[in-house]
Amino acid sequence: MQAETKTTVDQTSGASGAPVSVLRFSGDISSTSKDSLLGAWQSVHDGPVLLDFTKVDYINSSGIALIIQMLMEADKTGRKVAAFGLTPHFQKVFTMVGIAKYAGLYKDEPTAAASL
């Protein structure tokens, strides 16, 4: 009943030219997204990570909990995370719940990559 989450994993480079992994989500981020989101997270190697929300239509509180789980993993292993492509509404929501404290929120990929 819920739109599937697709997550693809890409590679780009950060400010210093060091490699950065990019997780690109599409569809919904909700309770059914667990395997897609956490599976993709586990598949990426060391180093900083970018989260691309450009093609996400819907995020609910269960989806936000999954993003927090990714940030827990990142925090444990000392990896930097930045996000981009969120609508102004979800930038506000991510700030309200405190995610912005653990992941920089940027308007586009170059700005987000430059922060890492």
Partner: protein, 154 residues
């Protein structure tokens, strides 16, 4: 442009995750008809979705034989939404989520729905079942208020 106070729209949804999106669509259309600005409509959609998810999961415990009712009523200065389920409601409100505790594994990463509802609308009230008529959450967004102003005054 504002419907006469008292005008109301009702929706009945099956208790299945995903159907909160139907309530979002209906609520957005009503709010648009009433002339709410796009950012307030986004706030309303998220609040209504979270209220429906809670009614589906916690109130009706995913029992598809039960339905969730969403009643949208125009008031003198805004829109009131009641999301009704067949459960007994809650005893007391959960604590405000703490992102630091969540990140450090000291608190469940979940538990943000009610916080978001309260943060996004102008009024939120949880009413628990007293006579077997169903529990509900009542949300209000007001037309004249600027959302930022309103959030600061809370």
């Amino acid at each position: 442009m504002i419907p006469t106070a008292g005008t109301s729209v009702e929706v009945r949804l099956p208790s299945r995750l995903g159907f909160e999106k139907v309530a979002m669509g209906t609520a957005a259309s009503v709010a648009q008809l009433m002339g709410f600005p796009p950012d307030r409509i986004e706030d309303l959609k998220t609040a209504v979705a979270e209220a429906c998810i809670n009614a589906i999961e916690h109130g009706n415990r995913l029992n598809e034989k039960l339905s969730v009712g969403v009643i949208l009523s125009a008031t003198a200065d805004g829109l009131e939404v009641k999301v009704v389920d067949n459960g007994t409601g809650m005893e007391k409100q959960p604590p405000k989520p703490d992102i630091d505790r969540k990140i450090h594994g000291e608190e469940d990463p979940r538990g943000m729905g009610m916080f978001l509802i309260q943060a996004l609308v102008d009024e939120a009230e949880w009413v628990h079942d007293s006579k077997g008529k169903g529990s509900y959450v009542r949300l209000v967004i007001r037309l004249d208020k600027d959302s930022e102003f309103d959030k600061e005054s809370k």
